[in-house]
């Protein structure tokens, strides 16, 4: 159904980033063909940083982020990002979508159609005219996900999208993520919620102190982690 040329696979090679002379991320290499990748690791392992580097918000100190598909060279980005705290503009829910679609380069008519479709798809139609900032935390995050969806990305990065939400709102967000799975949109997401990781993950990327220690299919990661650090992490412990 998608006419755009594919940008996947995403290939990350020897990615490194440093701040104040300290390497926060180094020699990270992986490849994503599609599906749902969950990035796990302790606080400060470099998970958010890696997402931002892949999304192009930060420039790597070394290494490359390459979109290997035939559409990967296009200047228009076909990947989107949802942040831990949804940053919504001080306008209505629908206007937030229209704004994002305008930035994506759509004409006025397509913007309206796409915005309404997004509101419908994520069960937000009743809130279309409400000021985005008065929505509940869960609604705001769903709106942020709808906004990401609206621009038809082929991959969505999500940085702990449910960290601030209660269980009910978390379920709502996970249901929203189901839309991406159904449509075959790749997802790369960080989380601290191991239950959530088990529910969602096709594969796990395990980061530890700025290094990528594992890229493992989810069932195997949770049953028999290869590294002692990952095993400790799953037990809720921390070893260096």
């Amino acid at each position: 159904m998608r006419a755009d040329p594919a940008i996947l696979p995403l290939e990350v090679a020897d990615l490194g980033f440093q701040a104040d002379g300290r390497w926060l991320l180094r020699q990270v290499s992986f490849r994503i063909e599609g599906g749902r990748s969950i990035v796990l690791g302790h606080n400060g392992a470099g998970k958010s940083l890696m997402l931002r580097l892949c999304h192009g918000l930060l420039t790597p100190a070394e290494g490359q982020v390459r979109w290997r598909g035939p559409g990967g060279g296009d200047s228009v980005r076909k990947h989107a990002m949802v942040f831990q705290r949804p940053v919504l503009l001080r306008r209505s829910a629908r206007d937030n979508l229209l704004h994002a679609l305008a930035l994506a380069g759509l004409d006025r008519r397509s913007r309206a159609l796409r915005a309404d479709a997004a509101l419908d798809r994520f069960g937000l139609a009743a809130l279309a005219g409400r000021a985005a900032r008065v929505l509940s935390g869960g609604e705001q995050q769903r709106l942020a996900i709808a906004r990401a969806w609206a621009v038809r990305p082929q991959l969505v990065f999500l940085d702990e999208p449910t960290a601030h939400l209660d269980p009910a709102a978390t379920r709502g967000v996970e249901a929203a993520l189901e839309v991406f799975r159904q449509e075959g949109t790749a997802v790369v997401m960080t989380t601290h919620d191991l239950g959530q990781a088990r529910r969602l993950a096709d594969q796990v990327l395990f980061l530890h102190q700025g290094r990528l220690l594992e890229q493992t299919p989810a069932p195997r990661f949770f049953d028999t982690p290869r590294t002692p650090q990952a095993a400790a992490f799953l037990r809720g412990e921390h070893i260096d």
């Binding site: 305008a102 930035l103 380069g105 004409d107 006025r108 913007r111």
Partner: protein, 282 residues
């Protein structure tokens, strides 16, 4: 569509700029187009006395020319005219006016009217000069007793007259008692009233001034207190933007029988403020 959006913003910006520019020049420019006007640089004394409010409607009714009066001190008024920012100067410092014409800034100077200066002072009269006729002697006494004196200090016609009297009195006014305000006539009277000081004022402003408090006239009637007003057309040879025809029409009217009568007609509290004395007053 990104481009369309930008264009929309640019359009809005352009519209706003256009509106602002229109606001800047707008109605005033339109007004200037259908209604001729001249700018007259004059003195605070003529403005504050209310003379112009009385004179101008008569002239405008007769000629259709609007007169815009910028009231400044005589020195500043002459400078305004020198810079070509006025069409006519109407001030009261004959020496400076003649110099202005001699330097080629003005076409010709004509007498219009006169009034006189008065020395105002507190009722208590600390210098003991009340009722005197000799302005120079009175000012010498003020200086001798270091009685408070409020000076305009703004290079106006009145200020220049005051400085002339000090010179004639052989006094270099200096000290705590001598206060240079750098203010217009009315402002100076306000201040003099507030600090019980003597001050020199033209009679016109004095008569129309309502906040006298303890001030009253202490010296008047000295021929040296004579205060002559003159009018000059700014030289269009210097400044081509000068509206010579309309300006001259105003001057001609001021010195005409009608204009002179209108000046004589202006009274405050039954008292005539200015006395017409144009040479061609016929």
């Amino acid at each position: 569509m990104f481009r369309t959006l930008t264009r929309r913003h640019l359009l809005a910006l352009a519209a706003a700029t256009g509106f602002a520019t229109a606001a800047l020049t707008g109605p005033s420019a339109a007004l200037a187009a259908d209604k001729p006007f001249i700018t007259v640089a004059s003195t605070t004394s003529t403005e504050a006395s209310g003379l112009f409010k009385h004179l101008l409607p008569a002239f405008t009714a007769r000629t259709g020319i609007e007169v815009r009066v910028v009231a400044q001190g005589t020195g500043q008024a002459l400078q305004t005219a020198k810079d070509g920012n006025a069409d006519v100067v109407f001030v009261h410092d004959k020496k400076a006016e003649l110099e202005f014409v001699a330097q080629g800034f003005g076409v010709k100077r004509q007498d219009v009217m006169y009034n006189d200066f008065i020395l105002a002072g507190p009722k208590a009269d600390p210098a003991g000069i009340k009722g005197g006729k000799d302005i120079v002697a009175a000012m010498k006494t003020i200086a001798g007793k270091s009685a408070p004196f409020a000076s305009r200090g703004d290079d106006s016609g009145t200020d220049r007259a005051e400085k002339r009297f000090w010179k004639e009195a052989g006094v270099a006014p200096k000290g705590d008692w001598y206060r240079e305000l750098g203010a217009g006539m009315g402002q100076t009277l306000n201040t003099a009233a507030a600090m019980d000081a003597y001050t020199l004022s033209d009679r016109g402003t004095w008569l129309s001034f309502t906040n006298r408090q303890n001030l009253e006239i202490v010296v008047q009637g000295d021929p040296r207190l004579f205060n002559q007003y003159g009018v000059i057309l700014v030289n269009p040879g210097r400044h081509p933007t000068v509206k010579a025809k309309e300006g001259q029409a105003f001057i001609d009217w001021l010195v005409s029988k009608d204009g002179q009568a209108a000046i004589a007609d202006y009274k405050v509290g039954g008292e005539q403020l200015f006395f017409p004395n144009a040479a061609s007053g016929s």
